[in-house]
Symmetry: C2
Subunit: 211 residues, 2 copies
């Protein structure tokens, strides 16, 4: 039978999984808003951030409750502290999706992304969604093989990001400086989103296996 502590730790993990799912949904919708210059979708992503903040607050309360009432030691203690950090990573992923939506909103009704580089953002958006889903699965399964897939997805994101910067810098960009600034920032947001998913997977696997 599981202890009360481990039941509550299970609740915490479920909440973290929910945060990853929310970040994944946010980045998917933000990418649609970006590619379709869809103001309603952009506003939806921006408005939904309060829900993420609320779940994060619940995670913190659950975590503090565990620390204060059960005074865990060793592995259990590290699991709770790790959960607090994972929540911070997931919330940051949500915030980065909001940044994407904000650029879409700022440029509306024009699309922020020129047609030439649309494909990059289609792919980066899909990868970001996959990474958020992967982080959720690693949380729930603690499976190192699933974590290895996250690293591969992150490598693919880095590669796309490099290609995008090369496209901007080397191949006669004709869309002006404002679009270059937007595309630079957008690329950075997706890349950071991926980094946080990797961090989550790394924390879970370190917690589960010690390396």
């Amino acid at each position: 039978m599981r202890s009360a502590f481990h039941q509550r730790l299970g609740t915490l993990t479920q909440q973290l999984g929910l945060m990853c799912a929310m970040a994944g949904e946010a980045v998917g919708q933000a990418t649609e808003a970006l590619l379709n210059a869809d103001l309603v979708q952009a506003e939806r992503v921006i408005a939904a951030q309060v829900d993420m903040v609320a779940v994060n607050a619940r995670v913190e309360e659950t975590a503090f409750g565990l620390l204060a009432l059960q005074a865990p030691v060793a592995t259990d203690l590290r699991a709770v502290v790790s959960a607090i950090r994972i929540a911070a990573d997931a919330q940051r992923m949500g915030a980065l999706a909001v940044h994407v939506a904000e650029i879409a909103r700022m440029r509306h009704p024009r699309p922020a992304v020129p047609d030439d580089v649309r494909q990059y953002f289609t792919e980066m958006g899909a990868l970001a969604g996959q990474l958020a889903g992967g982080a959720r699965e690693v949380l729930l399964s603690q499976d190192p093989r699933r974590a290895a897939q996250i690293r591969r997805d992150d490598d693919a994101m880095d590669e796309l990001h490099h290609q995008l910067l090369a496209e901007l810098m080397d191949r006669g960009w004709t869309h002006g400086i404002a679009a270059a600034v937007d595309v630079t920032l957008l690329g950075r947001f997706y890349e950071r989103f991926a980094d946080h998913a990797v961090q989550i997977a790394r924390r879970v696997i370190f917690q589960a296996t010690g390396h």
Copy 2:
């Protein structure tokens, strides 16, 4: 007489103050490297990141020791968890300074920043150093007035960042796309550096005053 717990919490605060000081030094040196296309200085900032990671590891060990051995509750518990998060903010500030140095190194022997916008980076670099110093002082003093100054410095940073983007977008930028990409990313790094300093001040003041 202070309890053993509060003595160790004091040690933790000193370590966090050291991390802020290191981040401040790193961003100062990185700004010099950037403005003077100084490769040696850039390499120095990049190499020093391991020291910051080491201090962060010490913070975590101190914090875990406190949580495991003393099982603090209520305010004391929150202080320790808050310290772990402050360390993460300070380490991120150091990483952002490294990103600035990396751009300086990548463009060397050319300067990454065109003369037209040099002044922005001189000022953003000075503000970033001030913010890191301010975060350190808030940590050590827990003084809300000092924290208010951090918010003003952050507002000044945001204003510079907006002006810099306006300079890029509106006023006939003639330095090409590659420089625009660099300047966009650099601006973002300084702005994020400031955000983390604000976060640190906010956590300290919340911890000290409850709001």
